[in-house]
């Protein structure tokens, strides 16, 4: 933990300990002073006041005796009143003392004073109750001397005993407070000594620790400055190499600039060609659109032809059916004609003319039959031709559909080509623009590289300065290490 503290923290900690000891010394001194003051105040306020009150008992007792004597000598009632007033003050003073006194011995002494004062007052009152005349005055004086004096002497003795005790108490309190003050002085002295020792210890510890750490840090600085020296040397070498590389980069960037300008020119030409291609692609797209419409019309016409051909086939089939009926009729006519010939032959000579007619009918029927055969052959040819035509037309229709589909695909492809060409045009323009920007950027880079080359040369110079500074630092750290080590040795 001690190792993790900084120099300022350690210094603050040491001074803090010393200040704490000083504060403790000050606090002890203040407390002792306060105790001494309290004791002195008690001595002054209580014991001295009580001594004064005790002395007042003496004075009141003497005054009461004087006022009694004046009354007995003059008979003036004002002295009597003065006697009573004096006695009232005595009693009040005695009561105060009785309340203030705290020890049993003091209370007993005051009780004795009280008892003797009561006896004294009764003796005085008994004399004062007598009428004072000129004649009785010597008697009363004599009686006073005889009865009151001893009591008054006793009272004075009792008061003196109390005063002596109070005086002793006062002396004791003074001695006690003096002792407290002396004790506080001793404590302050002891604590001051402890503080001085602690400060010396802290100073010694701090000096030792800081010297050790500074010595270590100085050694570190020495090592680091050696490393820094080596690094500065390497940096100087690197800066030279960097300057050479910068020169090569500048050459390369110049070549790159020329190439970028050529690319920009090429991109411009590509953009022009792409724009022409886009125009041609749009024209081709329109032509394809028209061709697609024509192909659609051809497809509809072919479908119409197929329908007509199929209808023709159905009609041919119907003709065939009718032809079968005609053939059947011709055959039956033929048979009837044969039978008519037979019947005519049976009719003899009169039937011969009928036989001729029957023969003509038979021949007609024969020719009809032959014609029906020709017609059937023709119809078969027609149906075959229709079938062939339908098949050819259907295959043509399929070819047309395929063509239309391919036309659609070709149209879509053409559209895609047009879009791609448009995209290519845009891309070529973007390339042109980007290349121009790139050329501008390369020019800026060229300028920046020139600046960097300048900076590299400056860095080369400053690395030399850094090398000198590192050497100086190494020397300084060696001096510091020596200084600290010599102080440690001392």
């Amino acid at each position: 933990m001690g190792r993790s503290l900084t120099y300022s923290q350690k210094l603050a900690l040491g001074f803090g300990a010393v200040v704490a000891v000083a504060l403790i010394v000050a606090a002890v001194a203040v407390l002792a002073l306060r105790e001494v003051v309290t004791r002195k105040d008690q001595v002054i306020d209580v014991a001295a006041q009580r001594l004064v009150h005790s002395e007042r008992l003496h004075s009141d007792s003497a005054r009461k005796a004087a006022e009694t004597r004046a009354y007995l000598m003059s008979g003036d009632p004002k002295y009597l009143a003065a006697v009573h007033a004096t006695r009232a003050r005595f009693r009040a003073n005695l009561d105060n003392l009785t309340r203030e006194v705290q020890t049993a011995e003091g209370a007993a002494l005051l009780k004795e004073v009280d008892r003797i004062e009561e006896l004294h007052d009764r003796a005085v009152e008994a004399i004062l109750a007598q009428p004072v005349t000129r004649e009785s005055m010597p008697l009363l004086a004599a009686r006073t001397e005889r009865e009151v004096r001893p009591l008054r002497d006793q009272l004075d003795q009792a008061i003196d005993a109390f005063v002596a005790r109070e005086d002793k108490l006062l002396q004791d309190g003074r001695a006690e407070s003096t002792e407290v003050a002396r004790s506080a002085s001793r404590w302050v002295l002891v604590l001051s000594g402890v503080g001085v020792l602690l400060a010396a210890l802290v100073a010694a510890l701090l000096a030792r620790t800081l010297a050790k750490q500074i010595s270590t840090a100085a050694r570190h600085v020495q090592t680091s400055s050696a490393e820094l020296q080596a690094a500065a040397g390497q940096q100087a070498t690197g800066a030279k190499q960097q300057a050479t590389a910068m020169a090569e980069i500048t050459t390369t960037i110049t070549e790159l600039l020329a190439t970028s300008r050529q690319i920009a020119e090429s991109a411009k030409r590509v953009a022009g060609i792409a724009a022409e291609t886009a125009t041609a692609a749009r024209a081709g797209d329109q032509t394809l659109q028209r061709s697609q419409d024509s192909v659609g019309s051809i497809r509809r016409q072919v479908e119409l032809i197929v329908n007509h051909m199929l209808e023709l086939g159905r009609k041919s089939q119907q003709i065939g059916s009718i032809l079968e009926i005609i053939d059947e009729l011709a055959e039956q006519t033929n048979i009837l004609a044969i039978n008519a010939t037979i019947e005519a032959a049976g009719a003899g000579e009169s039937g011969k003319r009928f036989a001729v007619v029957a023969e003509e009918i038979r021949k007609l029927a024969d020719r009809v039959g032959g014609s029906t055969k020709d017609i059937r052959a023709l119809i078969d040819e027609v149906r075959s031709a229709v079938n062939t035509t339908v098949m050819a037309t259907e295959s043509g229709s399929k070819a047309v559909e395929t063509g239309a589909r391919q036309f659609t695909e070709v149209t879509a492809v053409f559209g895609q080509i047009a879009r791609l060409v448009s995209t290519t045009t845009d891309a070529a323009r973007e390339i042109e623009l980007s290349t121009k920007q790139q050329t501008s950027a390369v020019e800026q880079v060229n300028s920046a590289i020139s600046n960097v080359a300048q900076a590299t040369r400056e860095a080369e110079a400053s690395s030399g300065q850094a090398l000198e500074t590192a050497s100086l630092l190494a020397t300084m750290s060696s001096d510091l290490a020596r200084l600290v080590q010599s102080r440690d040795a001392a």
């Binding site: 044969i338 037979i342 019947e343 011969k352 024969d366 014609s371």
Partner: protein, 167 residues
């Protein structure tokens, strides 16, 4: 508009038909022999029209139990019953066919129908075109005529009828 072959055929037909009314009857034509061409038992035959009583399509045939295998059954013709015989079996021809036609032979109570497979048409030949059949002639086929370039045996109906009726 040019005339088609069909139009030309119709015109020729019309012309021939009109000419038949204009021309006088030919004697040679009267001497010609009218023949029927037919196929029975897989063989082509001819017979004289005037030896028959008529040519009819074979109608509904009711089988008739008989000892003679050539008897096919009875059929109705113009309100009467007519026995029908198989011409191929009568001539002992090898092929088996399905008779669809018949010629009438004989008269009165002895009239029969001779059934055959196919009626092929009518032909007229000069009497000189009928030749005697070569040696070992077949039964009732004693003459031969050349029709469409092929020799066709000519059936003698009276001979056949005579054999059938046992006269």
């Amino acid at each position: 508009m040019s005339s088609t072959p069909s139009d030309r055929g119709a015109a020729a037909l019309r012309e021939a038909f009109d000419a038949s009314f204009a021309a006088a009857p030919e004697d040679a034509r009267r001497e010609q022999v009218a023949l029927l061409r037919l196929r029975a038992g897989g063989e082509e035959l001819a017979l004289r029209v005037l030896e028959t009583g008529g040519l009819v399509a074979l109608g509904r045939l009711t089988p008739l139990p008989a000892r003679r295998p050539e008897v096919l059954g009875l059929t109705g013709l113009r309100g009467g019953l007519l026995p029908v015989l198989d011409l191929a079996r009568l001539l002992r021809l090898p092929g088996q066919g399905a008779p669809r036609w018949m010629v009438l032979a004989g008269s009165g109570e002895e009239r029969v129908g001779l059934a055959f497979d196919e009626f092929q048409g009518h032909a007229r030949v000069l009497p000189g075109e009928l030749h005697a059949a070569p040696a070992s002639p077949r039964l009732h086929l004693r003459e031969v005529v050349e029709l469409h370039g092929r020799p066709v045996p000519v059936l003698a109906i009276p001979s056949l009828l005579h054999a059938v009726l046992g006269h």
